[in-house]
């Protein structure tokens, strides 16, 4: 299927190259998963579709192609293929594609390469930019809500992989829990997969067995398993990456949003306008207007009014930079972090 779609893509691309005119802008999108995953990969794709619309309004045709769900080992070949066929912008929307992004940027100086999250190397070619969102901020607010909503005083975070862009979210969440109520107990579970919903469900059930009554589901489609466990056991769960309340309306407290799509749109528009500054890190937070919270309307009666009020205050404080949520990237960092330093 994947191979088929790649072939199909290649075929259409060849047809288009022969027919294309110089004025057309060509953008390639390479996310981690599928562009209709209702999560990470779809989020970025929608942002690019948005950019396409904006550009069309100003008279520029933007051709958008994607290669989805490829392992990191195959991504460089796909990206080189796009670059050699004259694509102007290549957007690698997956935290494990850093090498591919940098290599392609070096090999094709005329192609603008944008990549999500900070790459491990600090020296970048001039046609390379990274964009990122301070994910710990939204998670901190969610942690506050979880810490105030738990009745038994125990919450559990379930996340995919123990790497910086993921663990900063979990540590942010736990920092929020501690900020809301230092007496609340918490745990972190890494399941080592984005897809395996049955495993996520078992992880959630293990957390429920351990006594937790509010969960964080910080993973891709595997989150469906955590929602299923929450529904079956009447516990609450915080969703991540997209507004997923419709997937489990009686269990999802709300969803932490990161607005990567909006940031990608801005990156593309700036790239077209030649406004991207060489060597600048586009690392955005709530104060810049990126990242937020999608409440679940069905939870109005569940979340205590006081908790809701405190949560709203925390969100406002992060937006006004009154609370600065640190980026903690190692599991356990949040345990010993001095909470008094949050307000500078």
């Amino acid at each position: 299927m994947r191979m088929l779609s790649t072939f199909a893509l290649a075929a259409t691309a060849i047809v288009c190259v022969s027919a294309a005119q110089a004025a057309e802008l060509k953008v390639a999108y390479i996310p981690c998963g599928n562009v209709n995953d209702k999560s990470w990969s779809e989020n970025g794709y929608l942002g690019l579709l948005d950019a396409q619309k904006t550009l069309a309004a100003s008279g520029t045709t933007m051709k958008l192609d994607y290669t989805e769900s490829q392992p990191a080992s195959k991504v460089e070949a796909a990206a080189r293929d796009y670059a050699s066929r004259g694509y102007d912008i290549i957007d690698l929307h997956c935290g494990t594609f850093a090498d591919a992004a940098l290599n392609v940027a070096r090999a094709f100086p005329k192609t603008k390469v944008i990549y999500v999250t900070a790459p491990p190397e600090t020296k970048w070619p001039p046609n390379f930019w990274y964009y990122d969102i301070a994910q710990q901020e939204g998670q901190f607010a969610a942690g506050v809500l979880a810490g105030l909503t738990t009745k038994v005083g125990r919450v559990a975070a379930i996340a995919s992989f123990d790497f910086p862009a993921m663990s900063r979210q979990v540590e942010g969440f736990i920092l929020g829990v501690r900020y809301a109520n230092p007496a609340v107990k918490y745990s972190r579970t890494y399941i080592g997969t984005w897809d395996d919903a049955a495993k996520a469900k078992e992880a959630a059930l293990a957390a429920v067995d351990a006594g937790a009554d509010v969960l964080l589901a910080d993973t891709d489609q595997a989150a469906r398993g955590a929602f299923s466990a929450a529904e079956a056991n009447n516990v609450y769960v915080v969703a991540t990456y997209a507004d997923q309340a419709s997937l489990a309306p009686k269990s999802i407290l709300g969803s932490v949003l990161y607005d990567y799509g909006a940031l990608e749109k801005q990156m593309v528009l700036n790239a077209v306008a030649g406004k991207l500054e060489e060597g600048k890190a586009y690392y955005m937070g709530m104060a810049d207007g990126f990242g937020g919270w999608a409440p679940n309307p069905a939870m109005k009666t569940v979340i205590p009014a006081e908790a809701q009020a405190k949560f709203d205050t925390v969100l406002a404080d992060i937006k006004s930079r009154r609370i600065k949520v640190p980026e903690l990237t190692k599991p356990g960092d949040a345990d010993k972090f001095d909470l008094s330093t949050l307000n500078k």
């Binding site: 088929l4 123990d162 395996d196 049955a198 078992e202 992880a203 957390a207 937790a212």
Partner: protein
């Protein structure tokens, strides 16, 4: 003191319950694969056949509302996928491993295509009801372990109930003897009057059908939904457990429970918040499987003819060019079958 004891026992009970849940899909796939491998068929395509089972089970349950119908359809669809594998390897004589890998890729694509073809960007979220838990009367009332073992979905009971059935079929029936003879020495089996090709095709179908049931367990009994890549490598774990279990259903069930138990335990250790690095805990079930296989691999005696394509039917009847395999001297069928029986009886196990 008593309270600590109670907590521990509750912890153990949830651990046992989770071990059985996690082991179930793997056990389904491994039991089927044990039959296939006993007949000399190495089907590395069961992961893909699980995906076929998951999508078929989900779609049929979704459109008819019948969970059991979905389960049965998944079983059949897996069986058909197994027969495709059988046709290519048994009738056309292709290499088992290559065919299995190709079939994995094909099955994943097909499952994804079937699902997306129906649901891409649908406004509704396709979900079905999860199979309800069956509490066995009286047994499920027993404190702790009774509750843990006998408050499960029917899929768990079926998988573990099939263990003695598969053992009986493989080691106590004429059919089982034929399957094992075919896996040990197809030429001798053929000379004893066994239709090697039909036996192998049947074994392929059973292997595929059980993989289909494994996929249906995930989709219908555990999650109530279909997702791409939801099988999560369970088919490959099943392949390893068949070797570790020495092609004996009882030992395979033990192996599946060991894996399930390790997984359930590591998730619980993480959930309790013990300060052990997550990466180590995540690796425990896999590392344990590797260690145990390494420890037992010396004792594992593979079916001698595993992954050896037997000449195609037509070629065997009317050899063209290439010589037919040398058949051992067998003055009459009776003697050959007796020989096969005596060599196999040693490996019959408990």
């Amino acid at each position: 003191m008593t309270s600590i004891w109670l907590v521990d026992l509750t912890f153990l009970a949830t651990l046992v319950a989770a071990s059985f849940r996690i082991a179930t899909p793997i056990l389904f796939a491994a039991l089927g694969e044990a039959v296939a491998e006993s007949a000399g068929i190495l089907n590395v395509g069961i992961e893909g056949m699980m995906a076929i089972g998951a999508v078929t089970g989900f779609l049929v349950s979704f459109s008819t509302g019948g969970q059991w119908l979905g389960f049965a359809a998944a079983f059949l669809a897996g069986g058909v996928a197994g027969l495709v594998f059988g046709y290519v390897t048994v009738e056309r004589g292709a290499d088992h491993v290559v065919t299995g890998i190709v079939l994995n890729i094909f099955c994943f694509g097909l499952a994804s295509l079937a699902f997306k073809g129906l649901f891409t960007r649908a406004s509704e979220v396709p979900e079905i009801k999860v199979m309800p838990i069956w509490r066995i009367p009286w047994l499920s009332q027993i404190d702790f372990f009774g509750r843990a073992l006998f408050s499960q979905t029917p899929a768990v009971y079926i998988a573990f109930g099939l263990v003695p059935v598969f053992w009986f079929l493989l080691f106590r029936t004429q059919w089982g003897l034929r399957v094992r003879s075919t896996g040990e020495n197809p030429a001798a089996a053929e000379s004893a009057g066994i239709n090697v090709w039909n036996i192998r095709l049947g074994a392929c179908a059973i292997g595929g059908a059980m993989a289909g049931a494994a996929g249906a367990t995930l989709a219908i009994a555990q999650l109530g939904l279909y997702l791409d890549n939801m099988t999560g490598g369970r088919g490959f774990i099943a392949l390893a457990l068949v070797v570790f279990g020495g092609w004996n259903p009882w030992r395979i069930a033990g192996a599946a429970l060991l894996f399930g138990g390790a997984e359930a335990l590591q998730l619980r250790i993480q959930a309790i918040g013990v300060a052990i690095p997550h990466a180590i805990l995540l690796a425990v079930p896999y590392a344990l499987t590797i260690v145990v296989i390494a420890a037992f691999a010396g004792k594992a005696s593979y079916p001698a003819a595993m992954n050896t394509p037997y000449p195609r039917r037509s070629a065997a009847k009317r050899p063209i060019g290439e010589a037919a395999p040398k058949k051992p001297y067998a003055p009459n069928a009776q003697t050959a079958e007796t020989q096969a029986r005596s060599t196999l009886e040693e490996g019959a196990g408990s």
